[in-house]
Amino acid sequence: MPSRIDLPRRRLLRAALGSAALAPLASLRFAQAATAGAASDRRFVFVILRGGLDSLSAVPAVGDPDFAVARGVLAQFAAPPLPLDSASDGGLFALHPNLAALHAMYGRGELAVVHAVGLPYRQRSHFDAQQVLESGSPRPYELSTGWLGRAQSRSASASLALATAVPLVLRGPGSVDTWAPSALPDPGADLVARLARMYAADPALANALERARVLHLDGAMPADAMRAGMSDGPPAGPARGGFVALARRAAEFLVQPAGPQVAVLDLGGWDTHANQANPNGPLANNLRQLDAGLAALREGLVAGNAWRRSVIVVATEFGREVAVNGTLGTDHGSGGAAFVLGGPVRGGRVFGEWPGLAQRERYEGRDLRTTTDLRAVLKGVLADHLQVPGARLDNEVFPGSEAVKPLALLRG
């Protein structure tokens, strides 16, 4: 029986938690409720990019003297990158040419970029890193609830996951609604490429898969190019166009006065070990999808008069290696980029401390070094936007994070 999404059981659990041992906190909760009215119309969206976004493609450090040599073929783009000029960095950064809507938001002061940001976990495993990203613990598998679920444990409104199941980040004592489109997801080119590798020793299965792939996926390519991940094709994760529809739907829920205060969306397909430079490849397509989705989310929030009280954080479990690998892609890394957008954001600037790209400046000689803890970004938004008290952030939401100081990303 499905456990975490079963509604009656969740209600029972909440009732049990509510009555047990929380009496001393009950008066605190009433006090908070009296002052929380101001925060209750605020909206927060967390967008998880699963697979490890190549942040040096999304936010290239074009002004870094080592950029071209360090990145090799990945330093070139099919169209000119979009400059992120600001007084402080003198043209160090730009956005990938497919992030035009984000670039416009940056120009209007609605988007802040945080670079060389990452998790305290550095072992480069998707499973472990996503667990850390969502649980809010510095080590994987210590916590089975999520930082956002814990942050919202005292909220009057339910949280919303635009997915078929509640992601770890939202799990906690509070109630979570899920909403997913009726359209069923289709197999993506990335999954099929990995299947082909799994079937390599079984010629009958491998041949049948290859014939099926040619029939069903776009951009038919020879089998060995497929195995090397060199194909074009739809991005993994939601069906093509799915993320945009999901983002639009999220905005529709969020703008309602009794709507969720918090929503979470996923976009996968970022694990680009191959063929990153292809302007029609998985990375380029995914960036286009991300840009269109965030633009649609913004549009929906603006139309519902909610943009001025909404903050969206876009984060990934790790960035990728600085240097290109043998299949024109990149392998798992550490530091990367995150986006913070919304009406209240101090946008039009890049936050963080740039560590440089020369080999001696990389983490283990491979990755962009992490100079800002992602929890500083999340704590800053939770504190300033959702008014979660500092003590709760340090002890409950991000346990063990007292040394991590919140970043001041919002205006006023």
Partner: protein
């Protein structure tokens, strides 16, 4: 993402059977259909039924590209629903044990996220040839 909570499955079905025909049997999780393998029924005991589309017992049928693609679609959709809850690495070890091959284990370990890992497990050759 936690390893699958065995306690729940065990309490519900009465017995958890490792190395079963389907990675989901005995876990209490419904995936909507079950895998068949060479005429043998899945461990959930049911009266004689014709296998569902894509799961024919005849090699000619289930090795055809359309049958393969139907299973890929099914696995993608099942994994989309369950991939955030189920740890495919733990489930692979529990359901296949010593039968888990190196290629399958490697691809699951390298999967980009939970749903992808689970889809790969559901499509593992070890479940299709038993």
């Amino acid at each position: 993402m936690l390893p699958l909570p065995l306690g729940e499955g065990r309490g519900r079905s009465g017995a958890f059977k490792p190395h079963a025909a389907s990675p989901l049997s005995g876990t209490g999780l419904q995936a909507g259909t079950r895998t068949a393998s060479e005429g043998r029924e899945a461990t959930r005991s049911e009266p004689n039924r014709r296998p569902p589309a894509g799961w024919s017992d005849r090699a000619d049928d289930w090795l055809g590209p359309d049958a393969v693609w139907k299973r890929v679609e099914w696995a993608t959709r099942a994994a989309d629903r369950l991939g955030a809850i189920v740890d495919a690495r733990a489930l692979a070890a529990q359901s296949l044990g010593p039968l888990l091959g190196g290629a399958t284990r490697l691809q699951i370990e390298r999967a980009a996220d939970g749903p992808q890992a689970l889809a790969l497990l559901l499509l593992a050759p070890e479940f299709q040839r038993r």
